[in-house]
């Protein structure tokens, strides 16, 4: 069988903060329909890798390509292809839950935005909160809204940093089902997680990152 073209291709990724090398020589190919889970202890570099993958952080060396395009946070094609839920998601304080989803769906040119928004709103169980402003949402509801922003729009690669965070047991079960469905539809997924059940159900490949960051010896 011919090998599929990777949606995401990471080559020799290196990222350090000062003398502390967080990740070095990291390679990763993720094809369509594949879900890769990054696991490891706190500080192992999972979030740093994901931030580099979406372009929020710039790697010190190495290349990251999505669909053959070098990742840049400001590239509209990358923004179109990559849906991400990482720790820096912000919301407009004066737009309600449903208005956020509506804006994202329309901005991405979703043909029937009302239907898409209704569907995802029911799925993340935020119908009752649809008119609420983000500062009044609980942390779990904010997380659901963040996930909804990734699912309401077209995407080829889904990047999630601990998506199970603050979700209740039912929420984690729903998320696992949803991610499996996304994967089966041909979406590429890279996620960092501490939830073994989620990893077990969703991931087709698990990468355990190093336990400790290496400290580069100063000459």
């Amino acid at each position: 069988m011919a090998r599929r073209t990777p949606v995401l291709k990471v080559t020799a990724l290196k990222k350090a903060f000062g003398p502390v090398v967080i990740i070095d020589g990291f390679n990763l190919d993720v094809a369509a329909g594949e879900a890769v889970a990054l696991t490891g202890r706190n500080g192992a570099g999972k979030s740093t890798v994901l931030r580099c993958l979406v372009g929020a952080d710039r790697p010190d060396s190495g290349t990251i390509q999505v669909e053959g395009l070098a990742v840049s946070e400001t590239n509209p094609q990358i923004r179109r292809d990559v849906a991400a839920v990482i720790d820096d998601l912000d919301f407009f304080p004066d737009l309600s839950v449903v208005e956020h989803l509506d804006l994202l769906a329309r901005a991405h040119g979703v043909p029937d935005p009302d239907h898409a928004v209704d569907e995802i709103l029911h799925e993340v169980q935020l119908v009752a909160q649809s008119g609420q402003l983000p500062p009044t949402l609980s942390s779990g509801e904010r997380r659901r809204l963040a996930l909804a922003t990734a699912f309401v729009r077209p995407r080829k690669l889904l990047i999630l940093d601990e998506p199970e965070q603050r979700l209740d047991v039912e929420g984690v079960a729903w998320l696992a089902e949803r991610l499996v469905a996304e994967r089966n539809r041909g979406l590429a997924i890279v996620m960092a997680s501490h939830e073994p059940t989620l990893v077990e159900k969703v991931a087709t490949r698990v990468i355990r990152l190093g336990d400790r960051a290496r400290v580069e010896a100063e000459a």
């Binding site: 979406v54 372009g55 929020a56 710039r58 010190d60 060396s61 946070e73 400001t74 509209p76 094609q77 923004r79 179109r80 990559v82 849906a83 991400a84 990482i86 820096d88 998601l89 912000d90 919301f91 407009f92 304080p93 004066d94 737009l95 309600s96 839950v97 449903v98 208005e99 509506d102 804006l103 994202l104 329309r106 901005a107 991405h108 040119g109 935005p113 009302d114 649809s130 008119g131 609420q132 402003l133 983000p134 500062p135 009044t136 922003t149 990734a150 729009r153």
Partner: protein
């Protein structure tokens, strides 16, 4: 079940019964502890004074310097305060002498109106701040630890009322007294206006505290709006008198007005005493969440102030207001792509009509400046006023530029996103410019400052300066403390910290400079184009720095490679 703390008695070892029965299991030696919990015991009353004493003890234990040492270390500060105080007093005295000799109608009316406007402004600001922060508040730590204790909350919090009351008495009194002195009022009148401002402001704080306990805000909101509107009306009157639109003789009655303000001061003292008693009585009813939210706001704003991040301060206030509103009636979006983003900004105008009040006030500025015969400086002053008025209209742009998360989810170039976010505010600025054209013609002053076409150009340039100043203000990046710092007398400071003070102002000054200096308006147009290209994010300084760093890294690695492969010359 209530819990209590108590020291164990000497004959009461804290070994569980089950452990004693199970003889084969080694029982650990009882540890002498300071306290332990007895879940079924009745709670003992705790005195707030005891807790305060305990806190004082902890703080003393952590103090590294005595008060005398702190003062001697801060002698520069003390010396500066004394010097500045002496200079200000001397300036007030000389101004007072100079202005007291002025007996024209304009001087007399200003003597009455300016301190009155400041007094009313102090009332409005005091009420606004009191409502915003509490006025009674506690820090998060105190909210968690002290308010959980079974203490009399009224006794604990009554001290917390003193600081806002004293501040409201001293600061408005000082400011009003200073302005009254500078306008040349006689000393008894200065005293009356000062007392009216001080007593009135502290009475309003007491009212706000009483309302805080009752969780009502309508009265304080109403009074704040009335005082603010009255202050603006009086300022308008000052301008009208200066422009000879109102006969100054009609407003020169300081003697009559002093009795009115003396009455205000006496009434404020009486009402303030009543509201204070009411507020203290109701302190027990104050919820912890209400108290701690004020403390959280103070600490958040303190943090932002240390970085001079005024944008963050505004973000905190906007988030707080959104949390207070909580729920809105959702509206359906329109259009696809960037049109959807622009439509949301249009919806914002409908949702937040209060923004137009600030815009209306800013529109008053060019007419006031013209009336005061300062038409040459009109673009600069009006442009700065417009920056402040347009910042709320740029809320969408602020959110899209403060963190990358939301912008990353929208499939557009950064420049396209920013341009779309500027579209509605630009429309608002254009309307402002058209409405301000008569002021630039000189209709409020001499009436012959500029031709209609020149006035239109000046108004448009001013509006563009206000818009781009606002954009620069809202797109400010956080101060990067990792960057090389500048040495100052107060220690190392990141350069961005200094520039944060000038953000927006610099843009207005740069764009309006050709107009003020009488140069061609085309120069302003060129500056506007350059500034627009820069502010819409067509080039990103961070990207350029990163590219330079990457190029340097490549160069270094190539050099290292060359060194490795270099063949040493043969030794002879």
């Amino acid at each position: 079940m209530a819990k209590r703390t108590r020291k164990p008695g000497p004959g009461k070892p804290s070994v569980p019964v089950a452990a004693a029965v199970a003889a084969q299991i080694p029982v650990p030696e009882p540890v002498e502890r300071e306290f332990f919990f007895l879940p079924d015991a009745e709670p003992e009353p705790v005195e707030a004074e005891d807790l305060h004493e305990l806190m004082k003890l902890w703080r003393h234990g952590r103090a590294t310097r005595s008060l005398g040492q702190a003062i001697s270390d801060g002698y520069v500060t003390v010396f500066t305060i004394l010097m500045l105080g002496a200079m200000i007093t001397s300036a007030v005295l000389s101004a007072q002498h100079g202005m007291a000799d002025c007996t024209t109608g304009t001087c007399a009316s200003s003597r009455l109106l300016l301190p009155t406007a400041v007094l009313l402004g102090c009332y409005a600001i005091t009420l606004g701040l009191a409502r915003l922060f509490g006025p009674v508040l506690v820090s998060a730590a105190e909210g968690s630890w002290l308010l959980d204790a079974p203490v009399d909350r009224r006794r604990l919090l009554s001290g917390r009322l003193v600081v806002p009351l004293l501040s409201a008495f001293l600061l408005p009194g000082l400011v009003t007294g200073l302005v009254a002195g500078l306008t040349g009022m006689d000393w008894p009148a200065v005293g009356i206006w000062t007392l009216a401002a001080a007593a009135g402001s502290s009475a309003l704080v007491a009212l706000a505290a009483a309302q805080q306990s009752a969780e009502r805000t309508w009265l304080t909101t109403l009074l704040q709006n009335l005082a603010g509107a009255a202050a603006l009306a009086v300022i308008g009157l000052v301008v009208a008198v200066a422009a000879d639109k109102v006969p100054s003789t009609a407003l020169s009655g300081v003697d009559a007005a002093r009795w009115v303000f003396l009455g205000v001061a006496v009434a404020a003292l009486a009402a303030g005493s009543f509201w204070l008693v009411l507020a203290v009585r109701r302190l027990n009813q104050l919820r912890r969440a209400r108290l701690a939210s004020g403390g959280a706001l103070v600490s958040g704003m303190q943090g932002a102030m240390f970085a001079l991040d005024f944008g963050l301060i505004r973000d905190i206030l906007v988030e707080r207001r959104a949390a207070a509103i909580g729920h809105v009636r959702p509206t359906r979006g329109r259009g696809l792509g960037l049109a959807a983003l622009i439509w949301r900004d249009v919806e914002r105008l409908r949702r937040n009509p209060k923004m137009f009040i600030g815009l209306a006030v800013s529109l008053f500025v060019p007419y006031a400046v013209d009336a005061l015969r300062l038409s040459q400086l009109n673009p600069l002053i009006s442009g700065l006023a417009l920056v402040a008025a347009l910042v709320p209209f740029l809320g969408g742009l602020r959110v899209l530029s403060r963190t990358g998360g939301l912008a990353r989810g929208l499939p557009f170039k950064t420049s396209a996103l920013r341009t779309a976010s500027m579209a509605v505010p630009a429309g608002v600025a254009l309307l402002w410019a058209l409405a301000a054209v008569p002021a630039f013609v000189g209709v409020a002053g001499s009436g012959a400052d500029r031709s209609l076409s020149d006035a239109l150009i000046a108004a448009l340039i001013t509006a563009a300066a206000g818009l781009l100043g606002g954009v620069r203000w809202v797109t400010a990046k956080k101060v990067d403390f990792g960057m090389p710092m500048v040495a100052t007398q107060n220690g190392a400071v990141p350069p961005a910290l200094i520039f944060n003070l000038l953000r927006g102002i610099d843009m207005v000054a740069l764009i309006c400079a050709p107009l003020i200096l009488g140069w061609s308006a085309y120069l302003s147009a060129v500056v506007i184009v350059v500034a627009f290209v820069g502010l819409r994010g067509s080039f990103n300084a961070e990207d350029l720095r990163a590219e330079a760093a990457a190029a340097q890294r490549d160069l270094d690695s190539a050099k290292a490679e060359r060194t490795k492969t270099k063949i040493p010359p043969p030794r002879r």
